[in-house]
Structure formats: C-alpha cells, structure tokens
Symmetry: C2
Subunit: 244 residues, 2 copies
Amino acid sequence: MARFFLPPPLPRRGYLTLDGENAAHAKALRLREGERVTVCDGQGLELACSVDGARAGRLRLRIDGAEDSAAEPRVRVSIFAAFSKSDKLEHVVMKATELGAHEFVAFPSARCVSRPDGPSLARKLERWQKIAASAAGQSGRGRIPAVSAARSCEEALRLAAGKDLPIFLYENERRASLRGALTEGEFQTVSLVAGPEGGFTPEEAGAAREAGLRICTLGPRILRCETAPLCALSAILFACGELD
Amino acid sequence: MARFFLPPPLPRRGYLTLDGENAAHAKALRLREGERVTVCDGQGLELACSVDGARAGRLRLRIDGAEDSAAEPRVRVSIFAAFSKSDKLEHVVMKATELGAHEFVAFPSARCVSRPDGPSLARKLERWQKIAASAAGQSGRGRIPAVSAARSCEEALRLAAGKDLPIFLYENERRASLRGALTEGEFQTVSLVAGPEGGFTPEEAGAAREAGLRICTLGPRILRCETAPLCALSAILFACGELD
C-alpha cells in the first residue's frame, strides 16, 4: 500500500490533502479514487485513508481510521556513529532505518578523517534526513528517525549515557559482551556508540567508561565501521523480540 | 598483523614462500626481516610466521607455530541468496564474510530480474569469491567462505534442507520467528535462504516448507533483499554467542 509522510500534528478524522512532492509521488503511482493509502506523521501515528479525488495537482484523501504504527519497535535504539569517509554513514542511516533504529547522532572523534562542519555538515544532515525518510517509507515504518550531530565526542558520550542501556562498541574490548549487557535488567532506550575507520582511541574508551557507558566487543572478527552498528542493532532487536 | 592466504595444504613447520600477488602485497607493506605475519590456508588453519628474507621478488617466511583460527564461528551459517539486481550480492558477500558466514550459494528464483548464467555467472562467481577472500583477510578470519551457485530454486532448497537448522526468510510469514527456530534443539549448521527484490512466491514458500525448511519472519518492517540475510546472520551469531 502506498505510504506518505506528512508533518505532525495530523487530524485523526476528516480529510487531508497531498500536495508538492507527495502529490507528484501519488501521480506517479496512478492512484485512483477509492484506492487505500497510508499517511504517517513520521512519529508513529498512521492514518488509513482512501483517495477522495484529485484537483489542480493535489490529491484529497478521506481519513478512515487512525492507529499507532505496528511496525515500530518498542525498544528505542539511538545510533551514535563517528564521522567516516565517503558514503558510509549514508549506508548506516539507510540500513539502520530499515532495521528499526530510533535516531542517529553523528559526531567527530579523534581518528575521524572526515570532520564536516558548517555548511558541509548542514548539507550532510539534510541528505541523511532525506535518506531516513525514504528508507522509513519503503520499510513500512511509522516513524522517521531524527538525524542530528553532536559537536564533540564528549557531547556524544554524554547524550548516549542518558539512555537506559548505553553501549560503546570497542574493538579492543575482549571480554564484556553485548549479550551480557542485554541480560542485566530492563531497558526501553539503548544507545549504540560506534567509531570511525580507525576505531576509538584508548582515551575515548576511558572517557566512555567514565561517562557510564558499557564497553562491549562484537566478537573476534574485525568489523568495518559501517558494519558494527548494524550488526549490534540487529542483535539488540532480535534479543528484544522485535524481529518476531 | 599482516595476513596472507595460501592454498591448502600448508606445512605446520619449516619454511614458506610468498610469491605473486602475496609478494607484491608484502612489498607494499614494507615487511622487514624478523617481522611477524599470519598465513592462513583459508580453511581455518593459521600459521604464525616471521619474515626470514627476500630474494628475487619472493618472500621467505619461517613458520613459528600453527593453530586453528580463533576468529571462526563454531556455528556454520550458509547463506543462500537469490540473484538480485546491480551489486547487491557483492554487498551481501562482503558483509556476511566480515560477520562470519560459512559459505554463499546464489540461485535463480521466480521473481529474479537478473539471472546470470554461462560466462556471465562464471565471472560473477569469480568476482564474489575475490570479494570473500579480501573481506576474510580484512576481518581477520581464518577461513574464506566458498561461493557457488545452484541451478534452480529447487536445488537451492534441497541443499539448504541438508543443514541442521534450515531457515527460509519469508516476508509474508507473520507468526513463526527466527527466535522460535533457534531455541528448539541443537545445531551446528544453519542455512539462511533469502529472496530477490520482489520476494519469494507463495509457491516457492510452499516448496520450502515441503522440503523441510523453517519459514521465518524478521518482524513487521520490510527489509530489502540485501538487508534481510545480514540481519538474520547477525541475530544467529549473537544467539549462538559468536559475538561474545
């Protein structure tokens, strides 16, 4: 079923109008009167709608029902990813959105080769947010993960530490496992902090521990910086029953 | 530490010679006499070696010790992936090798748009095998996953059914979960069968069930064909303690 995102707040009954990009998308899909579509507010609310008619390039929809999205994980996983080269973070944003991530925070760390800021960072954030919206639509999610940036590693660690279960993925950790971290007590929010190509420095790992994060290994194989957070996200969603 | 793959069988003591591509790689790394390197047979055996000397573009290594790779998962997961468009299977081969997959089998299914055969398939298999070798080296694995192709979906299902825990990922399945499948009894080998862009047909899912495969959902979000097997592989490795 076609899926459109409109900015909140949305009415729960009555009528809606699709215009601009949404109307162009609807036109490309050749939606006909009476056809059913889903409209989401990008924050978990889904409206079941039917096409009521088109006029002047706009599409009028009748709202038939409203409910919370059934495709949203209950556990909210925030991905904190250090800036990396080329389009690796695009890949992480796209795949983690599909899988069910709650939000993304990009940040600079000691071994980052790429450190966008100013207009370059603003352009990247805008692009990543578009990728998240598109991936959310295609995977049938009711929520578009928010994309933002922290100004420093310290700020990222502080934000990550605010979650119920804050996890710092560190390739030099040998013992403490994700499995161990996940089996100790209840949590509704998780942060996953992942490093750049060269990994985190021992000082950054120390600061993470200091800030209250759980340092975790992902096993003896060396995962690339774009693979580690997606692997850990899949494991967490699995462990929480969100892949059932 | 630098890592080289040489074809089996390898001696467990004495000396080895690196030539051809391996010698060129060693030269690029500027390895010096006495420096330690690892040589793998690509099937799980690792030799700890030290550089003994170079002559005529070849590098002589002394074998200091031999042991089984510690980076290989005990559970052997075979990925059966339907042919998909563009370079999606390259991505799956690369990422699944990093994560720890045991082998790949590509196969044609009803909704495949791409169906390489003859010389085109041979070229693709050769390319995928190179990608697997490179990803195995970079992730520190002791084994290079074998890459092959099945001639039909039936053949793929028959091969997949031969594993201890054969799993068929089906987006129209609503109830049976991977978690359920993983908690029923012991297994050492797993097959993960994943469809093309358009998914499997109900007939293919029926044939899979008939062949003895477990039909499983990965939850309510619609995962792309290249995301689903990587998500399921991460979850299985996590559940089996291979990310610890």
